[in-house]
Amino acid sequence: MNRNMVDLWVGFFVALGLAAVVFLSLKVANQSSFRSAPSYDVHAYFTNIGGLKIHSPVKSAGVVIGRVTDIQLDTNNYQAKVSMALDNRYRFSVDSSASIITSGLLGEQYIGIEVGADDTLLADGDNIEFTSSALLLEKLIGAFGLNQVSGDKEPVDE
């Protein structure tokens, strides 16, 4: 058995494997987990976070500017405390508001940030004061159904 021949084939095999890894990591996966841009943490309290999860995006004007890093229930006020890491390049005023928005009817949920007018900017560890919670489809349907029943004066079967 020719040793060079074997070396050549094994080299080819390993190179092919490495090429496949490069293909999978560059072409198939998103690079978000590679890039750890310098970021600062802010917190926000919500009465209901709906289907928000850790790693959910934080967007402003539709642009992803950060990720949700932690979700906890604060037992002081029984609200959900959501921590998020925002990209250092983007700064927001302290009176900005955060709301939980669903993309599409049944899509994933993300935090949308509307910028305020104050001159002071949010710093690391600050709280976002103005928040609005997730719109729960179930509650909406329930309220709609209730409206239908109470608003409907005529008997159903006639």
């Binding site: 058995m1 040793r3 074997v6 070396d7 084939w9 094994v10 080819f12 095999f13 390993v14 092919l16 494997g17 090429a19 496949a20 890894v21 293909f23 999978l24 990591s25 072409k27 198939v28 996966a29 998103n30 690079q31 978000s32 987990s33 590679f34 999860k53």
Partner: protein, 263 residues
């Protein structure tokens, strides 16, 4: 008339027998680890085995990967299109391949293509007393014969897995973009949106490494502990394939439960 004690004895015997076997397998694994110094000093031993185990499996792995990708693309597109989300086919193909099908199918193919060959080779070496001859020459068969084959399997299978995934995704691309007319940009961007490097690809590779350890260990253990006759070697070879398949499927469930639970 058997008493309850007899049945209990039977049960206990069955359990201890299996425990002893399991202990023997792990003792064998640690012996391989201790004997692996030779592989580091003479890497050519491992390279040669990678040639037999990995390079010769390339053909079946790429062909299988391509066809799995093609079929997956066709089936998923057909199903997703009923919900009007045929564009998401790239995402489904990539996730299915990287998370499950790649590691599991490549491990199953590897065990039947290469694991059986390793068992048969070692079993035949034992039957023809080559292993004993090596011991007579003061060469440890564990270091010279078993460990290189074990490590070759452990190195080859993860590489084969990523090749399988890449070829499969390419197959999915061929059938959905070129044949069914899904937009190429949508195909890739949907995929990139959903597939995370650490969460999906790295976990798939970790799975594959664990399968590689299991399949290679089973292959060398069955060969080394086979009954040194023609019948014994054939039985050991069969057992390697069956046992590898069962262990891979069971491990896959456990690993999936740990890796992808509740995200």
């Amino acid at each position: 008339m058997k008493s309850i004690a007899d049945y209990l004895t039977l049960l206990g015997h069955q359990v201890t027998e299996r425990l002893v076997l399991l202990g023997a397998v792990f003792h064998f694994l640690f012996s391989i680890f201790f004997m692996s110094g030779t592989c580091l000093r003479r890497p050519w031993l491992v390279v040669r085995e990678i040639y037999f185990v990995g390079v010769f499996s390339l053909l079946i792995i790429t062909v299988a990967g391509l066809f799995v990708g093609l079929v997956l693309g066709l089936q998923m597109y057909d199903t997703l299109e009923r919900f009007g989300s045929g564009d998401g086919v790239g995402m489904v193909v990539a996730l299915a391949l990287v998370r499950e099908l790649g590691p599991v199918l490549s491990a199953l193919l590897f065990s039947s293509r290469a694991g059986s060959a390793i068992t048969a080779e070692i079993g035949l070496m034992k039957a023809t007393e080559q292993l004993t001859a090596l011991e007579m020459m003061a060469i440890q068969p564990l270091a010279r014969v078993i460990a290189p084959r074990f490590w070759a399997g452990v190195i080859s299978l993860p590489l084969l897995n990523v090749i399988f995934c890449a070829v499969g995704i390419f197959g999915g691309y061929l059938v959905t973009v070129k044949l069914l007319g899904v937009d190429a940009g949508t195909f890739w961007s949907q995929m990139q949106n959903a597939v995370d490097f650490r969460q999906d690809i790295l976990n798939g590779i970790i799975k594959s490494v664990i399968f590689a350890l299991a399949v290679s260990l089973i292959a060398v253990f069955e060969g080394y502990s086979s009954v040194p006759t023609a019948e014994g070697v054939s039985r050991a070879t069969t057992r390697t394939v069956v046992l590898s398949a069962l262990v891979v499927l069971a491990l896959d469930f456990v690993l999936t439960a740990f890796m992808f639970r509740g995200f």
